[in-house]
């Protein structure tokens, strides 16, 4: 996660991690460049955040290796096993939702699909939407936020009003309406592909004002600083100042907000799938599993517990990690 921070600091390697000095002084270039290193030192000492980080890495690995993992346990997320279902009740035969050596987390009611395989594949959807929509939001939010903060005047007014408008917009309702009028095929995508594409774009689009506001605020406070004045008096162009002087100093807040945004996006995806406008069957999604578990909350509670726990762990891990990163990157923050 901290890797990008090191890149612009190649020549500043020797400045060691003297935390006290950093915390005390509020100065610019040297400390700013070594921030990544300092943050990393701090993060290493934050056990909770590290745990969160490790869990996130594990989740990413699970998502990337989903086909391999399900192949190893010999299960297919879309294969039906009606023989494991009690025909009278429609619930899995056996205790705890049919947990067995073959089906590590049991099987779904009615269809008998393997829950473990579906959870593993569901991680793909959750993380894909979580990350990609965060990236969309960050790109739009950073560009527009920095422009608003730097140029001020009517540019700022315009962008700020747009952000206000978007923040007031009922995004969940909008997405539901949008998905239901979406064609089944577009841009060479079909079915679930279209739904994912739309969800990522729209969640990202409605998420950018959160980043945009922070970036704008930071830019406002930095654009009159001495180093910017200095660059300006040396004849630097606007875009040089924007992207070479200001942007590197915005990296910290952007990273913090991104890590906070990913779990929110994962929850939004789950909510949309829960409401039936997320991915299409038979693609597995945690929200959709939760939604179909409602009919079995009493007769097969494990079916509801498992995707619930998966969402809980994922969101918690991202939040812990995000908190840790914020603390580490913000020397003034109380710890």
């Amino acid at each position: 996660m901290t890797a990008p921070l090191h890149e612009p600091t190649a020549e500043a390697a020797p400045s060691a991690a003297e935390e006290a000095a950093v915390a005390g002084a509020g100065s610019k270039a040297v400390q700013g460049r070594s921030l990544g290193r300092i943050a990393w030192e701090r993060l290493k000492r934050d056990k909770l955040a590290l745990t969160g980080g490790v869990v996130v890495l594990v989740l990413v690995a699970i998502a990337l290796l989903a086909p391999l993992i399900t192949h190893l346990v010999g299960q297919d997320p879309e294969a039906h096993h009606e023989d494991l279902i009690d025909p009278l009740f429609g619930t899995p035969i056996g205790s705890l939702g049919g947990i067995s050596g073959d089906h590590l987390l049991g099987v779904e009611p009615v269809s008998g699909r393997d829950i473990f395989a579906r959870i593993v594949y569901g991680a793909r959807i959750s993380l894909l939407v979580g990350f990609l929509s965060a990236i969309v939001a960050v790109v739009i939010g950073t560009i527009l936020g920095i422009l608003a903060g730097f140029f001020g005047g009517w540019v700022d007014s315009l962008i700020s009003r747009i952000m206000d408008g978007l923040l007031a917009f009922p995004q969940l309702l909008f997405i539901i309406a949008l998905v239901s009028v979406m064609p089944n095929e577009m841009l060479g995508l079909t079915g679930t592909g279209v739904r994912l594409f739309v969800m990522i774009l729209v969640i990202g689009f409605f998420g950018w004002p959160y980043i945009g506001r922070v970036v704008r605020g930071q830019t406002l406070s930095m654009r009159e600083r001495e180093y910017v004045e200095a660059a300006r008096s040396l004849g630097a162009g606007r875009f040089y100042i924007l992207f070479k002087e200001l942007l590197p100093n915005l990296v910290a807040p952007i990273i913090v907000y991104t890590t906070m945004m990913i779990p929110t996006n994962i929850l939004t995806e789950a909510a949309l799938s829960f409401l039936g406008v997320g991915v299409k069957p038979p693609t597995a999604s945690w929200g959709q599993m939760l939604s179909s578990a409602i009919d079995y909350y009493d007769s097969d509670p494990m079916y509801m517990v498992i995707p619930g726990v998966a969402i809980f762990i994922t969101v918690l891990a991202f939040n812990l990690f995000g908190d840790g990163v914020r603390d580490a990157l913000d020397p003034k923050g109380s710890r």
């Binding site: 879309e78 294969a79 039906h80 009606e82 279902i85 009690d86 025909p87 009278l88 009740f89 429609g90 619930t91 009611p109 009615v110 269809s111 239901s180 089944n184 079909t190 079915g191 039936g276 299409k280 069957p281 038979p282 179909s292 409602i294 009919d295 079995y296 909350y297 009493d298 007769s299």
Partner: protein, 597 residues
Amino acid sequence: MTTQRTSGRRKQALAAAAVVAALLTTAACGGGDSDNGGSKNGAAGFDAANNKVAQASEAKKGGELKFASAQDADSWDTTRGYYGFMWNFSRYYSRQLVTNATEPGKAGAGVTPDLATGLAKVSDDGKTYTYTLRDGITWEDGKPITSKDIKYGIERVWAQDVLSGGPTYLKEVLDPKGEYQGPYKDKSKDKLGLKAIETPDDKTIVFKLPKANSDFEEMLALTSASPVRQDKDTKSKYGLHPFSSGPYKFQSYSPGKDLVLVRNTEWKQESDPIRKAYPDKISIKFFSNANDLDARLIAGDYDLDLAQTGMSPQGRTTALKQHKGNLDNPVSGYIRYAVFPQSVKPFDNEHCRKAVIYGADHVSLQTARGGPVAGGDIGTNMLPPSVPGSEGQKYDPYEMAGANKNGNVAKAKEELKACGKPNGFKTTIAVRNNKPVEVATAESLQASLKKVGITVDIDQYDGAQTPGIIGSPSNVKKKGYGIIIMGWGPDFPSVQGYGLPLWHSDYILDSGNNNYALIKDKTIDGLFDDYVNTLDDAGKEKIATEINHKVMEGGYYLPFVFEKFLNWRSSRLANVYTTDGYSGMYDFVNLGLKSTK
């Protein structure tokens, strides 16, 4: 029906009969020993009211019969209602010349005189039907019901522009050319301009059919043939407060919230041979959540579900485990199926259709519908068991309940080859998004078709928009819906009441179409023509069987189940029985309570 099934039924019947006998001898509060049996609270036992009368002798006069429902009627206007439970419930406040017999099971599908003194006197050519009205039949204000009121009530079916929604069989049979404009555009002074119905005096009504139709009396037994009095006709608002001709009248109705009927004091028991009218008051409470509704039924707060479409999975499980004696498991008369529109390639080729039929895992589809008890027996053809001429699972041309019940990949691939698509094809399933069970069947079909190389995308459309989405052939073609998942039950138990809108080429409509497969088969059309002219029952059954065979041979349909429900009956109910006249629902009109408090 298979022998297996019958013997299962027979066992249940025996067990239930034993329990009923035990209850009667031990005065209603012993029981509880048998697995299937009644509980301490006096429930009649599992399937005790299925096709037979349970606890008839315990019905007392008085009390409040409490219905609960997750759904309001489409309309309580007798002309406009099309929901099965509305037809059933409407007998509380409306009477017809003839109506379904108040008998359990198959006998309930028979027609019996209600306002009329007897069944119709039919002329030899089958074109003239004459009825005489009973004495003492009255409206809720005490005025007598006349033959003119009946004629006016039937004429309202013609006013489809104002009163849409109900069945239109009478209009098509009495006025096939559409000459009459309906009572609201009627120029004659008494608004009784329809020539096909004559009312020589207040007690006599004569129907003159341009063409014979052997099911005409069944059509007159529909709620849409109820009398309506002209001065009480509030047109499109009539459904909010229909003027009663039956034993109960509307006290209050808030759509989507509740409905209360109270006794119609002008109704006379001796004028009505079929309605027992036990309770003093009948109420419906509407719920927005089916799980909530089931929980309240189980808790004993309500007596039965108005919709009578089975309990939700959650309530069903609890009820089966703890209150089995309060459940009945009737056959509903509905067939749940997938249908293949011929306008969508490659389903224009019958071999591609058959590839899907052979590729499907029928046991998996049955499980998705709820299993053999809550879902029903595997459907093997397209004529419901309650319709005369049906053969049940005995007619199984694709061996769906036999050798191929788990799908036959080899056979499916053969059909694919014959269709010119040896490597399979891609298509889309259209399914209502508000029916989780239908989505589950779509997923089952998707999974089994994958094995034969047919890739399926599932499109969940807004279930409330059904007539405009899958009912529009041009939209179906545009969206490429090669497979549509639906269900259908008979309007009245005959091949005409079930299959005419589904299979006759005249019924292919631009909107609100039900002939989804777009069947244009001269043989099938011809058989329907023969059917309406055949007046003897044996001949009618034979033609029904033949039509069913023709439809199945074309491979237009993949039936899932002959649907069964698990319906709740509270321990307070007495004189309970299911009837084929209303698709396996309880016969509402004669329900009684054991205690009047």
